[in-house]
């Protein structure tokens, strides 16, 4: 043994901890000569660049996954174009659902996607294809196969693929000095709409949680994705395909879920029945979607239902809604909403003062009705004082009060000027100034 070997072995002794026995066991079990992939339902795919493992699953259209049959996306995918930055024509059979399993975190060059899962619609069924490399030397063959697949589709559908799976895949092409031939694919990353819809209603937007909470999909004995690297490393040393069985299953469900989630998003565009059952905040978020997408009909529908439900459940939604209309230059609707809000909530001790201020602005600038404007300003002032008595001394409120009082003073001056002009009354009693002393 060389001197260096000796030193390295010493390092090993000091570095290795209690898991040394486990490691010894691992190396003692010899990898089986012939790997049996039939058990996990996979076969060897051989190309001119070498071979890798491929698992193919065909799911009939009528199969219901969670709440929806897979067929529900057929000819219904167009509306998904609204979820993209640049609108393009989406056909269900041109969508490639995509998810990877990797050896680590981050998008550094040492993180290897050892499994590429893809899914797509054919005329008869939904197909899941899982490409798996038995060791890193098979990667090139797998990537070449992917390049060919890409040519049949126009859209890539993923969950967090924009920042993770796709950059990682592109890394691999660079590392093999091959061109990535998927540049023509529009990328629809469902994580973004999911986050915008469920930001307040779901504690996390992890795919497995979303599907459980909203799609009716319940995984049984699923291995978490975070276990995938460990299992793969175990497979590398033991070469037993059965070790990977759970990872294949996990990835398969991920791919199918992507299709079901796409179905769910399409239903949001047309299924008015659904609006009644989703949470109020989701309805509000949907309202924001349609407003941003400029889908007037859907917006109107959701808006009307939202008003009805908010009146009963939580009138605070009136405030952001009013701002939407203000931005849309439909101020009269905003005024209606602010008034409704005050009507409903005015008796509350802790209340958002924004509608009062907004109404004051409205009467001052649009209606030149200073009396009404002063009225709402004073109301706002009173509410803030109430609030201060509840909370500790806070600079935020001092600022708010200062602003309100500035507004009040200005309004009173304007009102006086107007009064003087109109009637030249000689004595107008000054409304009392409230001293700030907090």
């Amino acid at each position: 043994m060389s001197k260096l070997k000796n030193r390295l072995n010493r390092l090993k002794k000091t570095h290795a901890s209690s898991d040394i026995n486990e490691k010894d066991q691992v190396t003692s079990s010899q990898p089986s000569e012939v790997e049996e992939w039939g058990g996990v339902g996979a076969v060897t795919e051989t190309t001119s660049y070498g071979s890798f493992i491929k698992r193919l699953i065909k799911i009939p259209f009528h199969k219901k996954v969670g709440f929806y049959p897979l067929s529900q996306l057929v000819d219904k995918a167009e509306v998904l174009c609204h979820l993209q930055a640049s609108e393009s024509n989406i056909q269900h059979d041109k969508m490639l659902f995509f998810d990877t399993e990797t050896t680590g975190l981050g998008i550094g060059t040492g993180n290897v996607p050892f499994m590429l899962g893809i899914g797509y619609y054919t005329k008869e069924e939904f197909v899941v294809e899982q490409l798996f490399i038995r060791n890193p030397s098979e990667e090139l063959a797998m990537l070449t196969y992917m390049n060919e697949k890409f040519q049949q589709f126009t859209h890539l559908v993923s969950y967090n693929g924009k920042t993770f799976d796709l950059p990682l895949l592109k890394n691999r092409f660079v590392l093999h000095r091959k061109t990535y031939e998927g540049e023509h694919l529009e990328h629809l990353d469902l994580l973004y709409p999911a986050r915008s819809l469920w930001r307040n209603t779901l504690t996390t937007c992890k795919l497995s949680y979303v599907e459980h909470q909203r799609l009716g999909i319940h995984r049984v004995d699923d291995v978490p994705g975070s276990m995938a690297p460990t299992l793969y490393f175990k497979y590398l040393s033991e070469k037993d395909p059965n070790i990977m069985a759970d990872v294949f299953r996990h990835n398969e469900i991920d791919i199918v879920t992507l299709a079901v989630l796409s179905i769910y998003f399409t239903t949001l565009f047309e299924d008015t029945e659904l609006y009644k059952s989703i949470e109020l905040d989701e309805l509000y978020r949907l309202c924001l979607w349609f407003n941003k997408m400029e889908l007037t009909d859907q917006f109107q529908q959701v808006y009307e239902l939202l008003i009805k439900r908010a009146t009963e459940e939580d009138p605070n939604y009136f405030i952001p809604l009013a701002m939407i209309f203000k931005k849309k230059k439909e101020v009269e609707t905003s005024v209606f909403l602010w008034r409704e809000f005050i009507e409903l909530q005015g008796h509350q001790r802790m209340i958002n003062t924004e509608p009062y201020i907004e109404l004051a602005k409205y009467y001052e600038h649009r209606k030149k009705d200073f009396e009404k404007a002063i009225y709402y300003t004073k109301e706002a002032e009173q509410r803030v004082y109430q609030r201060i008595s509840f909370s500790r001394r806070d600079n935020k409120y001092v600022e708010t009060i200062k602003e309100i009082q500035k507004r009040k003073t200005r309004l009173e001056r304007k009102w006086m000027n107007k009064q003087e002009k109109r009637e030249k009354m000689d004595d107008v009693s000054h409304p009392k100034q409230i001293q700030i002393n907090i």
């Binding site: 060389s2 260096l4 070997k5 030193r7 390295l8 390092l11 090993k12 000091t14 570095h15 290795a16 490691k23 050896t103 680590g104 975190l105 981050g106 998008i107 550094g108 060059t109 040492g110 290897v112 060791n135 890193p136 030397s137 592109k170 890394n171 660079v174 590392l175 690297p229 460990t230 490393f233 590398l236 040393s237």
Partner: protein
């Protein structure tokens, strides 16, 4: 001198009269004059693009200095180059000229610049952009470091012609993500490494491995870049560059830049207490000299060795010169200032608005502050190379310059000042690295495998790659398939490997006087002594008191105060043996190797009155201790060693011996003296015996002390030869240390102590 104003008309007059001024004359122990040097010019090489030449002509530069032309010539020939020239000799042109020339010829070409710090990188980009603007060409130079906005990063990766970064960024961000830098790596033609001398010791060994990885990536993308390096004066620039780059390098060290006459004055503060031999404070003397210079309109830089001293000197100087200048004219400069503030100070120095600056060695590196007229060093900077670099800050081309080295009472300073020959005749220090240090090498082989799989036949470092790969495969970090080794682990290896010993995390300092405003930062290790609660933190000469230190969140909240004292914290250091991994015994002494912890704890602070420097109060500091867990090697002397020695003599002998070993150990390890610590203890807790400890100054250790353990006998043999061979009478900094430190008999005592070990060795070798 002008009799009416009491002022000198020029630096020249001041220099002429200084020698005879009664208040200074007795303190001047040595006056060294380096004659002025004429410029040596060379024509612009014929192939230089007309546009580029025009830029320099427009700036009034009609020809190059010889070293600039020479380095251009070598680069055109395709050689790797290291240029060694002093401060302000136009060294940046040595690389900017060939790089810009190439970019003008070939728009797809790329260059990577590496600087040891972010500040230097930013400086450089500004300089390149100035030339580029004049060229009116679309050449883009960017910094890429931790401060670069995420939104800008992609543009830099794809479009930056010149990317300016630091080794840490290369290590943890660029190389592990090289697939995002395809454009750069495919077309990389030049790698510029400035301040090459800073890459030494353990840090340098890490950087050498980062460069191996960089070359490996370049090779993958089919590029084979040329290295252009610059270095400050060190003893072995060519050798050092060749070790770092693992390439043959052409050395260019014939400086063609002119320099004015240079006066280096050694100044020893007067003795104030004859009996105790106490000298006046070097801080007060430095301040006296600096204010003399400043009051006479001479632009001056003052170097102090600690941050606290910088601020104290700044306060004094601003006060002394307040009739002449506003506070903005004399500034401080040190690590903790915010980048924006530093840029402003650098600019002020260049355009002359700032007349004086007090700095730590932060300004020793090549940050462009133009040339000043005089330099005052408060204390010997610790190495010959640093001293010349600091002194190089003063010296305009056509004018005389003046440097004062003001000695502190520290024994090394006193030795240097009393033995000027030692300083002026010695060669500067060597830079050493050991790129094949096993632990460092393994770390970087991991990173390299993460970046690209290893293939059979590849080389990385010494002959050992295959064995390391097999080792890492057994450890299940790599996976071997035929002749290739792939990274197969979940972690991101670069994250767990830091190139530098000091933790990079900083404490920020928030001024709560009006609202809250971040005014500066302090590194983790200095925090307990500089910003403990009640500390007076001085920033740009303004006093702040620390009201609250949030240790967890790394924030110190301070408020402006006006007091007549500063604070000085005491740091208690303890060394504990945790585990003995190896040991050997001889008749007279035992040696052991193992794990230790070194604990540093700030215990209390003193309040020290300005100007009189008397102690006017103190208080406790309650902060967690800093702990360094590392490896160490130590040997102890038998108990009977005390029989015919006084305890005092033993102490001197141990100290003397440690001082010698500090010189020798780095030679064996090819490390920097800062990488390893030697601690003598008359009675160590662990052995209960007189013991000398060596420990790695890196968390976890990097194998330095283990190597020393293996060569123990050689080490002490060498120590003996060194002491015997030293021509000094009774001790000097080159052997056991100055007599002020080890006593009159220090040399003899150390030698005697050593000989007890030697006799044993001879008999030992028989067995």
């Amino acid at each position: 001198m002008n009799r009416l104003t009491g002022k000198f008309d020029s630096l020249h007059d001041l220099i002429a009269e200084l020698k005879e001024m009664p208040q200074f004359k007795p303190q001047i122990t040595h006056w060294h004059t380096i004659p002025a040097r004429e410029a040596k010019y060379a024509e612009f090489p014929g192939q230089i693009h007309n546009k580029l030449k025009q830029v320099f002509l427009d700036r009034g530069i009609a020809s190059l200095y010889t070293h600039q032309a020479e380095s251009f010539g070598e680069i055109v020939k395709g050689n790797h180059v290291v240029t060694v020239t002093p401060t302000a000799s136009g060294k940046t042109l040595c690389y900017n000229l060939p790089v810009l020339q190439r970019l003008l010829e070939d728009d797809s070409a790329r260059a990577l610049y590496m600087f040891p710090t972010k500040a230097l990188a930013q400086d450089q980009v500004a300089e390149v952009n100035e030339i580029v603007n004049q060229l009116e060409m679309d050449i883009k130079a960017y910094t890429y470091d931790g401060d670069t906005a995420p939104t800008a990063r992609q543009a830099i990766r794809n479009a930056g012609h010149i990317v300016v970064t630091n080794p840490d960024m290369l290590h943890s961000a660029i190389l592990p993500h090289h697939t995002k830098w395809v454009k750069l790596f495919e077309n990389l033609q030049f790698i510029v490494i400035d301040e090459l001398h800073t890459y030494r010791g353990v840090f340098g060994s890490h950087v050498a491995n980062v460069l191996r990885r960089l070359k490996r990536i370049c090779n993958f993308y089919g590029s084979n870049p040329q290295f252009i390096c610059t270095s400050a004066t060190i003893a072995n620039p060519k050798e050092h560059a060749e070790r770092l780059l693992e390439q043959k390098v052409s050395l260019i060290d014939k400086n063609g830049a002119p320099a004015g006459e240079k006066h280096v004055v050694f100044y020893n503060p007067p003795v104030v207490n004859q009996q105790l031999g106490i000298r006046r404070s070097s801080v007060l003397e430095s301040q006296k000299l600096a204010s003399l210079l400043l009051k006479n309109g001479i632009q001056t830089i003052v170097f102090a060795r600690s941050r606290v001293r910088v601020e104290i000197l700044l306060t004094y100087l601003q006060d002394q010169t307040k009739n002449e200048f506003g506070a903005k004219s004399i500034r401080g400069y040190r690590g903790g200032y915010l980048p924006k503030q530093r840029r402003e100070i650098e600019r002020g120095l260049r355009n002359g608005e700032i007349r004086g600056v007090v700095s730590t060695n932060a300004l020793e590196l090549g940050i462009d502050i133009g040339q000043l007229q005089a330099c005052v060093m408060n204390g010997y900077p610790g190495s010959i190379a640093s001293t010349w670099q600091q002194s190089g800050r003063a010296g305009r081309r056509q004018e005389s310059s003046l440097t004062f080295m003001v000695a502190s009472s520290n024994p090394l300073d006193q030795y240097i000042i009393q033995n000027p020959k030692f300083f002026f005749e010695a060669t500067p220090e060597e830079a050493r690295i050991e790129a094949d240090n096993l632990l460092i090498l393994i770390d970087h082989i991991k990173c390299a495998a993460y970046e690209l799989p290893f293939e059979k036949g590849e080389t990385f470092g010494g002959e050992t790659l295959l064995e390391v790969l097999e080792f890492l495969t057994e450890e299940k970090v790599l996976h071997q398939v035929e002749d290739r080794w792939y990274w197969m682990e979940q972690s991101f290896p670069a994250h767990n490997i830091s190139l530098r010993s000091a933790a990079q995390e900083n404490f920020i300092i928030i001024d709560m006087t009006e609202g809250s405003r971040v005014i500066g930062e302090v590194d983790r290790f200095s925090a307990p002594t500089l910003i403990h609660e009640e500390a007076i933190y001085i920033h740009e000469g303004i006093q702040f008191q620390v009201e609250k230190l949030d240790f967890e969140e790394k924030k110190a909240f301070v408020r402006k105060v006006d007091v007549d004292y500063f604070t000085d914290a005491n740091l208690a250091v303890q060394l504990k043996v945790l585990q003995v991994d190896k040991q050997a015994e001889t008749k007279t002494h035992d040696l052991q190797y193992g794990e230790v912890t070194v604990n540093a704890k700030a215990t209390f602070f003193k309040k020290i009155k300005y100007r009189t420097h008397e102690n006017i109060g103190s208080g406790p500091i309650h902060l967690p201790e800093e702990e360094l867990h590392t490896s160490a090697y130590w040997f102890s002397f038998a108990e009977d060693i005390l029989e015919n020695r006084s305890k005092n003599d033993l102490q001197f002998a141990l100290l003397g011996l440690s001082n010698v070993l500090v010189h020798i150990a780095p030679l064996y390890l090819m490390c920097d003296p800062m990488d390893i610590r030697v601690v003598p203890q008359v009675k160590a807790i662990h052995t209960k015996l007189p013991t000398i400890f060596f420990y790695d100054r890196y968390p976890g250790g990097v194998g330095l002390s283990e190597r020393l353990y293996d060569v123990h006998h050689e080490l002490i043999q060498q120590a003996k030869e060194l002491i015997q061979g030293c021509t000094c009478l009774s001790g000097c900094p080159a052997c056991v240390g100055p007599i002020e430190e080890v006593g009159l008999a220090g040399k003899e005592l150390a030698l005697e102590l050593l000989s007890t070990l030697m006799i044993e060795n001879n008999t030992d070798s028989v067995h």
